[in-house]
Symmetry: C2
Subunit: 317 residues, 2 copies
């Protein structure tokens, strides 16, 4: 088995993710089907990880293994096993999603990198055990702080809640069957660090309480499959009002989504992508088209993704 792998290598996929889920800022996220990172990995003679090819990134991702999110995550796995001076691995990366999009691009790279190395070595770690290594890679892109809200759903699939980033205390949140996501990426450039910088370091106790009440309602609604409760709860009174200004047409898109029947609609990650959740794929299609129509009218190039919650997370294929 390992001999076969050594020759032909393996191929893994890590999906795009929606994080900052309305009232679940920094703690809730989920994976979708379709966009994501593909890594082909195979053994080579030179110890360490070497990036031989990057496709789909328009020259914007580094080949330097110490700077590339995927290889940093992969190296963290090797290093933990004490094999970084012994084993050599080549990565061929195919980015099948936009980056700087609020769709968890760096998390997808990091997860794919850690997952690929783990798979190639015969799965010494469980997916959950890989989270710290993937996070190490993701930190490169996010400026040194761990944010599991993309990494965790990308790796594990489904919707996740991270109670503590430091303790990797991550939990699967049950979602009602049929829940569908419409995710639209407009070609508006937002740097994650700018989206962070725009946020006030303070908020009010009143807003905190309102946001907490909605978070509680959202979690109860998801558990019970109470779509009306999800609809009433999926709001963001703290982050969205501050970041909406970075996304031309945000409120028009949001209104269009809600009028088309979405349960809720807000900014995906740090933007500019906007997600909406709907009760089924038919509504999600309609919602997606309504969102798309707004950006088309505003002459902002955009790309629409319609997907169920991806329960698989990172996969080998």
């Amino acid at each position: 088995m390992n001999n076969v792998k050594k020759k032909s290598g393996i191929k893994v996929f890590a999906p795009a993710t929606v994080s900052n889920l309305g009232c679940g800022f920094d703690i809730l996220g989920f994976a979708i089907h379709g966009p994501g990172d593909v890594i082909k990995a195979k053994f080579c003679k030179k110890p360490g990880i070497h990036i031989t090819k990057i496709e789909g990134a328009k020259g914007k991702l580094p080949y330097d293994a110490e700077k590339n999110t995927a290889s940093v995550a992969g190296m963290a796995v090797l290093r933990h096993l004490g094999k970084e001076k012994e084993i050599g691995i080549e990565f061929s990366i195919h980015k099948k999603m936009p980056f700087g999009s609020g769709m968890g691009s760096s998390a997808a790279s990091a997860v794919a990198g850690a997952f690929a190395v783990n798979d190639l070595l015969g799965d010494p770690f469980s997916k959950r055990e890989l989270l710290p290594f993937a996070s190490e890679g993701e930190q490169i892109a996010s400026g040194g702080t761990i944010h599991l809200d993309n990494v965790a759903p990308c790796m594990l699939g489904g919707m996740t809640l991270n109670r503590s980033n430091e303790e990797f205390d991550v939990h699967r949140v049950i979602t009602p069957p049929g829940l569908y996501c419409s995710l639209i990426y407009p070609s508006i450039e937002i740097l994650t660090k700018d989206a962070r910088a725009i946020l006030s370091p303070n908020t009010t106790l009143k807003k905190h309480t309102e946001q907490s009440a909605n978070l509680g309602g959202l979690l109860l609604g998801l558990f019970r499959g109470d779509l009306d409760l999800i609809h009433r709860s999926l709001k963001d009174v703290i982050i969205e009002p501050q970041r909406a200004q970075l996304i031309t047409g945000f409120y028009e898109v949001q209104n269009a989504a809600m009028e088309a029947g979405a349960l809720g609609c807000s900014i995906s990650g740090a933007g500019p992508s906007i997600f909406a959740l709907s009760k089924n794929s038919v509504v999600a299609e309609k919602v997606g088209k309504a969102m798309e129509a707004v950006f088309n009218r505003l002459k902002i190039e955009n790309k629409l993704f319609i997907s169920a919650i991806n329960m698989d997370g990172a996969i080998k294929y």
Copy 2:
């Protein structure tokens, strides 16, 4: 049946409640067994509600029906039915709990008042429908704003989450079987309005996020019966640090409770009572004794209550 009631009247009980449940400030609460308000109610000739007797309140509760929480709530029921000038009801109130204690005393009065009138009239409203009337009574005591975190569990029983006070959007939160509460009331005077005034109207985004993550963890832990997750999540980084100073010995009591095996321990309501949750009655006894020992050592008079979560709420008996 109504004739029997008219002669002998009825007797109801509304339990004490723990609110501001750690990271669930203003949104989570639960009812306990034991302390609470008893109201005996019977019809009389003079329209409106009349308080004929108040026991257990050391003369501190008003007989004036327009100022007493119980009668205001009861009147709200009568008024909603358009019968306030037609039907007369006498209340005899027995307060079997301390007030100004952080144990939801005014909520117990309000709930008992609304529930008693409803029962006497042959239950025109469901318990859930009574929430607005009980809240109208509770507002008298809490200074004009609605806080359902005591009223809702007192009326409905169990643990509740109020997503929106304005919309009476209240939900039962599933709790693991066996969960037990140790509640200690030290004779330290705190006025709810002082406990409110001490709170900063602002907090930080960092604390908001940490508190939200713990709230999410607590709700998932409760749903899944994951006691370790409840233990890790039942914390309050916003309110408790500000209010602890009002309660002599708070941190000593908290430490004693945690060392004795509590899952979590924080201020009940606006204090001075302190609650701890434990995985079963045996641990809850031990935890309660440890909390009691601290206050005894500090020569602060106290009263300890050990109880399962009260799933009944207001009852007729």
